[in-house]
Symmetry: C2
DNA sequence: TCCATATTTTGAATCGATTCAAAATACGGT
DNA sequence: ACCGTATTTTGAATCGATTCAAAATATGGA
């Protein structure tokens, strides 16, 4: 069998029509006379022509009908990380509806990432800026395609972004615990800076923490202040947003003289790890310890007990991001979307001592 | 600001060099004299040229450096379903290593799917044939690109595919339970055929079931036979591979006079749902009921208790699939890869009655 | 200085389609 | 039979780069 090297031009010649007509047979069949259409189609079949090559069409159209989702993470991140998956699922739903494709682009190292971003065949990018966001934005800018940043960790109004109101989200979470009567509350923070592991002093938060955890922290503190609790009274344990550092943090928290009755976790992922640790220690949630997460990933709804959390409006974020890209209508300002408290089974009144 | 409509040709003209030289400046900088290179680069910067447009390059090169992963499912499936995610993670790892991109292509309805497959900018496809596999293969064939089918439900040697040895995998699972001493074993089957929900008679398995569950079933039976247990003695409850039908199946199983002491689940997903149901009923795993899954998804390693399962060699499957596509070296035969029994905490000896 | 060789640069062809103004053909009415 | 309008078809230009043989230029040795 010969190589599949039949071009539209070949078909046109063999069928004795012009290339223009042959093109119409495939892309605008209604415009060509039935008899001719049939003939061309037959010739195409005989020649083994598989329809117009997408690459040629694309070059002409200049549009790919796909959006790229990029992160400074390995590709597996998109299918592994609960937050990323929640977002991808939501993005998938919007794209399904509009017939848009999704390309995931990623890389651990800079060089690869630059190349991947430059060679991705997409009409625009959604950037997951959890880590190395600044660099990611810079790289994407060069590509000169519409892009929109999610979870942007820096404050730069020139970057089109969709954000969430982490401050009031944090406040809502903390207020929930406080209303239940908790006063001994500990915080599990998240970040990728080595220095912020272990016990973190409050004065280090502003200078050292990235925007997302910092804002959540301020939300927590704000609610605490409403109840007259000074920030120094609330221990902060820094995690690297992974299992080992979370377990270490939990150990530190519960080996103290005055272990907390409730935990504010800055992500569901960390909260879920913490719950596993508690279960292993024989501590019951929520009877012994209450815990509230952040993000609202689906795992939080099926854990045992089901995790109370502050949910991001993933669907709305995805909808805005995708339409912004597809219609090239990037938001001018950084509007922050609201989060929603989802009360489930991991929080309750503290046990009487 | 003018639209970013600067072409390589514009830069070339403005810099006073030929288009060929301008092209070399970007794609083979070593071949052009430094002085000239600088000049061209400067002009490019002034004009706001963002480097060679990938679409033009692609048209010439004929290669996209990306593979498509397709399924007859909504896009969200890739980020939701445990099995799909395990595979995607593994595929991601292989692609990361080779600098290949991934495009996920999917659609619920035929028409959309056909269009999506035809317009995906990829060098080849990996097909997740869990559902509607036959149609998916047919559609992909027309695209005339290399493709390889995974989890193919039909026996057709002309379709390049990578399979796993479901029969011996099933036998390994069943043998594990039998060796522990279980004799009252029930099967939770999977499928997307409405008719195979609820209690399924053994004689309906061969004519009605798809290849994957059918093979697993035969594996189960084979091991049963070794222990002198006739297939009629093993109740089969059909599920639709989702939560509701699994819960229904469990209810049916445990409302009988002689509830099973162990369960063979045809997927980890179903096994995990079943475990949730058992927990809700106050039945302890593995003390009251043992359960073994199938697939080896990561969730199975972090559930409580951790799920014993028969694991697919995801990494090996991904490696073979990706290299087959990239090197256009599609396998000639349907070699079936071996599965591995992973004993964890969800299986134990049956309680003495 | 001249020639042979090495290094750069050029220009046109190519990749595979789509598009659109203009030309050709068909159709209907008188 | 003829004309005006409607429908089809044509052919060349275009999308934005890469490629490569040939031409131009530089370098070095005698």
């Amino acid at each position: 069998m010969a190589k599949g090297h039949v071009r539209l031009a070949d078909v046109a010649k063999a069928a004795g029509v012009s290339q223009g007509t042959a093109s119409n047979v495939f892309s605008r069949p209604d415009v060509v006379r039935e008899e001719v259409r049939e003939r061309v189609l037959n010739v195409a079949r005989e020649l083994g022509y598989g329809g117009p090559d997408i690459k040629g069409r694309l070059l002409r159209a200049g549009r790919v009908n796909a959006i790229g989702v990029a992160a400074v993470e390995p590709l597996a991140y998109f299918f592994d990380d609960p937050w990323a998956r929640s977002l991808m699922t939501a993005i998938g739903e919007v794209c399904d509806a509009s017939g848009t494709g999704i390309a995931v682009v990623s890389a651990m190292n800079e060089e690869r990432l630059a190349w991947n971003i430059n060679s991705a065949l997409v009409d625009g990018f959604i950037l997951l800026c959890v880590e190395g966001g600044e660099r990611l934005v810079e790289l994407t800018r060069q590509r000169q395609l519409p892009f929109i940043a999610l979870a942007l960790g820096i404050e730069d109004e020139t970057i089109p972004a969709i954000g969430i109101d982490n401050v009031s989200g944090g406040a809502v979470a903390a207020r929930h615990l406080l209303e239940l009567g908790h006063r001994d509350i500990a915080i599990l923070s998240i970040g990728d800076v080595d220095g912020l592991v272990g016990l973190v002093a409050p004065e280090r938060v502003d200078p050292e923490m990235e925007a997302t955890p910092r804002d959540r922290m301020h939300g927590y503190w704000q609610a605490m202040a409403e109840y007259g609790i000074p920030r120094e009274a609330v221990p902060i344990q820094g995690t690297l947003h992974d299992r080992p550092s979370t377990l270490t943090a939990m150990e530190a928290l519960f080996s103290s003289d005055n272990p907390p009755t409730a935990i504010l976790a800055m992500s569901d992922k960390v909260a879920l790890f913490a719950m596993q640790w508690l279960a292993e220690q024989g501590l019951k949630v929520p009877e012994d310890v209450s815990i509230i997460g952040f993000d609202g990933v689906p795992e939080a709804a099926t854990s045992l007990p089901r995790l109370t959390t502050v949910a991001q409006p993933f669907a709305e974020i995805a909808r805005r991001a995708v339409t912004a890209i597809l219609e090239n209508a990037l938001p001018e300002d950084h509007e922050a979307l609201d989060l929603e408290l989802v009360v489930r089974d991991s929080t309750a009144m503290p046990r009487l001592r």
